[in-house]
């Protein structure tokens, strides 16, 4: 009994390794396609693609927290807000370069994540959701009320887009390509992270926390780290969002937006590496595409998501995997001739 079991584990590991390499190739090809995709799409299409990628980064972070570490964070939009405002304030008021502001946004959200996660995880894992619920509303209140710093309800206008070695990225296409590059870099970092021993600890944690703990994985430290890195990705995402829209006010960073990001993670497939891209595609691009349906477009959108979740609670990625497995079984049956 044990030998085949071992063998199948090894096979699973091998196929997992293949799958991850597949992930790397898909990332690179995807980036190349997206680099050229906007030609002939107009500024609108380009903008929506950029928005999709920017949201994907935030959703990727949340996927790390939720899909890999099994923690619900209801403050991802709050972290995006922290990042967006940090970048906007530093670049417009103090003339800091965007790159420095980007790094600082990530650092700030990382440490806020640590501060927030530490006491919450000490109590009981389940309650991080509730602490982040409170936090996201508090951040929104700060952004709205502290007008001297954040512009309050009026927001911050005229946020400049960055330069790249002297090349101005003001145009829609130029900035889109910049977003593609940043997204690629951040995805690669995450890809590496998930494959590293750290990442395997994350996965072990998700599969079976008790077993992981008994194997000597410091569950709490890894969970905390996953949450903090996930939050930093929220900050990075916000840091790109501000120059993309060139204007920010508190409304995209509310609690309901945080819930919407959570919806994207789950609908895309939580715990799947490409889940966030699919989820953000559903959350950002699908409503834009449904605009032809007029005033009913949000109802249609929500019905699609609801139906998707009812049919396949693992989201689109789970659905695809299921179809793939079904196909594989059929082919396997035909080839091997055994049931």
């Amino acid at each position: 009994m044990s030998a085949p079991a071992l063998e199948s584990t090894a096979a699973a590991t091998r196929s997992a390794a293949r799958r991850i390499d597949g992930a790397l190739i898909t990332l690179l090809i995807g980036a190349a396609i997206l680099w050229f995709a906007p030609t002939g799409m107009g500024r609108y299409g380009t903008y929506v693609l950029s928005l999709w990628l920017v949201m994907s980064i935030g959703v990727m972070g949340l996927n790390l927290t939720l899909g890999y570490a099994g923690q619900s964070s209801l403050a991802q939009a709050g972290f995006m807000g922290l990042g967006a405002y940090t970048t906007a304030i530093l670049t417009t008021k103090w003339g800091v370069s965007w790159y420095a502001a980007f790094g600082l946004s990530g650092l700030l959200t990382f440490f806020v994540g640590i501060l927030l996660g530490f006491p919450a995880l000490r109590v009981r894992t389940h309650y991080l959701a509730f602490v982040t619920l409170a936090f996201s509303t508090l951040v929104w209140l700060l952004l709205r009320n502290e007008q001297w710093l954040t512009g309050g309800a009026f927001g911050i206008p005229n946020i400049d887009r960055p330069q790249f070695f002297g090349i101005k990225l003001f145009g829609a296409l130029e900035f889109h390509r910049f977003v593609v590059a940043v997204t690629l870099v951040l995805s690669l970092v995450l890809w590496w992270l998930v494959r590293s021993p750290w990442g395997r600890a994350f996965t072990a944690l998700r599969e079976n926390p008790v077993r992981a703990a008994s194997l000597g994985v410091d569950t709490r430290a890894y969970t905390l780290l996953a949450f903090a890195i996930g939050s930093a990705y929220g900050g990075f995402s916000g840091s790109l969002f501000a120059p993309l829209v060139e204007f920010i006010d508190p409304s995209p960073f509310t609690l309901s937006q945080s819930l919407f990001l959570l919806l994207m993670v789950v609908a895309g497939g939580s715990g799947y590496f490409f889940g966030p891209f699919v989820g953000a595609l559903l959350g950002v691009v699908l409503p834009e595409w449904l605009r032809f349906a007029g005033s009913l477009y949000l109802i249609i959108f929500a019905t699609i998501v609801l139906a998707l979740l009812i049919i396949c609670p693992q989201g689109v990625s789970g659905l695809i995997e299921r179809c793939w497995a079904a196909l594989g079984r059929r082919f396997g049956r035909k080839a091997g001739g055994t049931p």
Binding site: A153, G155, W289, S295
Partner: protein, 378 residues
């Protein structure tokens, strides 16, 4: 993963838009149809729709029919920008809306870069001060309205102290920040300064706070529904001091929702379908017939926005989107020349408007106009 790309390509393909044929004049209405601004946006949308129907029934603009599409902003800056960009890419002749200043702030660079006129419903003072030549209002701004209210409080009410209740969004904060210096200039003390939330349901605590401040009058600067809820709570707490407000305190919707709690409320009204101007009343009647409810000031604004485009296009006698801005700047649109504008309107160089406004009071559940105030710069 492959499927991801198929999905992406399919959705991506639909994002590229076909070029528009030139046989129609395309107006793109980018407006709050969901989220916090949905009620205001729906009024505006209906108003604009009514205007386009009227124009098309009479042969269109320069003989061309007008096509109007609405794109929802979700009251979110990022989505608004996408929607305006979409309108620009589709070859919009002009952009109408949005109303909230966040969405306006996020989208006005887009229309400016495309050199397309954007006619918005916002009242906050800020966005016409940024030197953008393509942005136009459809109502007088708070910077113009608040001095009139302060003057009314000082001269007519002879109030020495005022309780200020405002909604903490761009509209309410803008109004509050504009009236406080005016009150100070008029020598009126602010007894209590109460911030409330957009969409707030319960105003009991706020009403008690106002009551305890014991000011000579209460300045209420909330959106329509919240105004109604506050008036009811104030009545329940037995506040008898006069309620002073702007268009959003005296609108038809507030009177309907607040019932007799609205009686005695008074103040300054920019646009009202109850104004003693036959064209406005006629518009209000037709709007009610078509949509089954009364139009608020946003409905009037949406209607006027379309007629601003029509007037300017006919004035320049050609479909020149870029020229539209030049034609509108400094223009005086007379209702006698263009009945659809409803009231004589002067457009200033920065896109602000100047027109007559009214002082009104609610008597027996009806808005009664007492005084018509002249233009600031007659």
């Amino acid at each position: 993963m492959k499927s991801l790309w198929v999905l992406a390509a399919a959705l991506g393909a639909t994002l590229s838009l076909p070029a528009q044929a030139q046989d129609k004049i395309k107006l793109v209405d980018v407006i709050e149809l969901s989220g916090a601004g949905a009620a205001a946006g729906t009024n505006w949308k209906n108003g604009a729709e009514l205007a386009v129907a009227d124009i098309n029934a009479k042969g269109g603009i320069l003989g061309k029919q007008v096509e109007l599409v609405h794109y929802d902003t979700q009251t979110n800056p990022g989505n608004t920008r996408a929607a305006v960009q979409r309108g620009v890419d589709e070859g919009a002749y002009a952009i109408l809306g949005p109303i909230f200043s966040g969405p306006i702030g996020a989208s006005m660079q887009v229309s400016q870069r495309a050199e397309i006129v954007q006619i918005v419903g916002g009242e906050a003072a800020g966005f016409t001060r940024q030197g953008n030549p393509y942005i136009f209002r459809t109502s007088i701004s708070q910077a113009a309205a608040m001095p009139k209210i302060a003057k009314y409080m000082k001269d007519t009410l002879k109030a020495g102290s005022i309780a200020v209740v405002w909604v903490n969004n761009d509209f309410g904060k803008g109004g509050r920040d504009t009236i406080l210096p005016e009150l100070e200039k008029a020598g009126i003390k602010v007894a209590v300064d109460v911030s409330t939330e957009q969409g707030q349901a319960d105003f009991t605590a706020d009403a008690i706070k106002v009551k305890n401040a014991n000011a000579d009058a209460v300045f209420v600067y909330l959106n329509e529904e919240e105004s109604a809820r506050f008036l009811r709570a104030a009545k329940q707490q037995g506040i008898t001091k006069p309620m002073i407000g702007e268009t959003t305190l005296l609108g038809a919707k507030v009177l309907e929702l607040a019932g007799d709690a609205a009686n005695g409320a008074r103040g300054h009204v920019g646009l009202s379908t109850d104004a003693p101007i036959p064209a406005l009343q006629e518009f209000g009647k037709r709007y009610r017939e078509k949509y089954g409810f009364s139009s608020d000031h946003n409905g009037v604004k949406g209607y006027m926005a379309v007629f601003m485009v029509k007037w300017a296009t006919e004035k320049q006698k050609k479909l020149d989107a870029k020229g539209l801005a030049t034609t509108l700047h400094g223009a005086t649109i007379k209702a006698s020349e263009e009945p659809g504008i409803l009231m004589d309107t002067v457009i200033e160089q920065n896109g602000d408007l100047d027109r007559e406004s009214f002082l009104a009071e609610v008597v027996n559940g009806k808005q009664v106009i007492n005084t018509t105030l002249p233009r600031v710069k007659p």
